[in-house]
């Protein structure tokens, strides 16, 4: 029975890790990271490591999401009010006028934008 539990938890952890990478908006990624933390905690319980499960929960359920969300909030505010919502995460600082940057080569970017899982 324990083998089945190990396999289930491993697959869940691998799936949520992949999702955490594929979700590109940091706020939404924070939510996936929280679920990854919870599945890791279950995996550690199944691996008979309650101490590690406790510290993973302590870090993953509140501390990391709080730090990530506070950073995102600060970064967005620093990048100007126009990027507050709408255009997606990938254009963090685009609204800043940067006279020294020169013209952008067309088609060099884009395509990947908004590639949420």
């Amino acid at each position: 029975m324990n083998d089945a539990l190990v396999v289930i938890c491993l697959l869940l952890v691998a799936a949520s890790a992949t999702a955490a990478v594929a979700v590109r908006d940091p706020e939404r990624q924070a939510l996936v990271l929280a679920v990854l933390g919870l599945s890791l905690a279950v995996l550690f319980t199944v691996f008979q490591a309650p101490d590690v499960a406790l510290s993973q929960l302590a870090v993953g359920s509140v501390l990391t999401p709080l730090l990530v969300l506070l950073s995102v909030r600060k970064v967005r505010r620093g990048a100007g009010p126009k990027t507050r919502r709408g255009t997606g995460p990938d254009r963090g600082g685009r609204d800043r006028t940067r006279p020294d940057a020169g013209p952008q080569p067309p088609g060099g970017r884009g395509g990947r934008d908004g590639a949420t899982g």
């Binding site: 289930i8 869940l12 008979q48 309650p50 499960a53 929960l57 969300l69 009010p81």
Partner: protein, 151 residues
């Protein structure tokens, strides 16, 4: 081989699998609700595992999760309040199901472990978890208004 572990495995395979899908796709509101429900689900699964492995010490994991999980959801409710406000996620039915399921499992576990400190601890974890889950759902459904900003 015992029933508690089988129950935990079924709960994890079905529930947590759906949770990973729910939190990685769809509108923000649904993701946040999923995150909230995952706390209850994982906590119940850990309690089942503790009983299945005959290790009451593992209940401490459930205790910590029943406290920190809802606080984590409140973090999202607080810091994503602007994004959630146009369409506050309400999931009364899901919350009720989660609360009822938690209560049923916790009572079954408390009965199985017999009267004593362990049963009291289990009931405490269950009470904390249900309260936290309900309050966090309330917070997501517009319990925390947008913060006034100095622009």
């Amino acid at each position: 081989m015992n029933g508690w572990l089988v129950a935990a495995a079924v709960l994890l395979a079905g529930g947590l699998g759906a949770a990973v899908w729910g939190v990685a796709t769809g509108p923000l509101g649904r993701r946040v609700v999923t995150q909230n429900m995952t706390t209850s689900l994982v906590c119940v699964a850990v309690l089942l595992l503790a009983q299945g492995y005959r290790r009451p010490a593992y209940v401490d994991i459930g205790l910590e999760l029943s406290l920190l999980g809802p606080i984590g959801t409140l973090v999202y409710a607080r810091l994503l309040a602007d994004d959630l406000r146009p369409d506050p996620p309400r999931a009364p039915r899901l919350t009720a199901v989660a609360a009822a399921g938690t209560a049923a499992v916790v009572i079954a576990l408390a009965v199985a472990s017999g009267p004593g400190r362990a049963a009291v601890k289990l009931l405490l974890v269950g009470a904390l978890l249900i309260t936290g889950n309900v309050v966090a759902s309330r917070a997501l459904a517009g319990g925390i208004p947008e913060e006034a900003r100095h622009e």
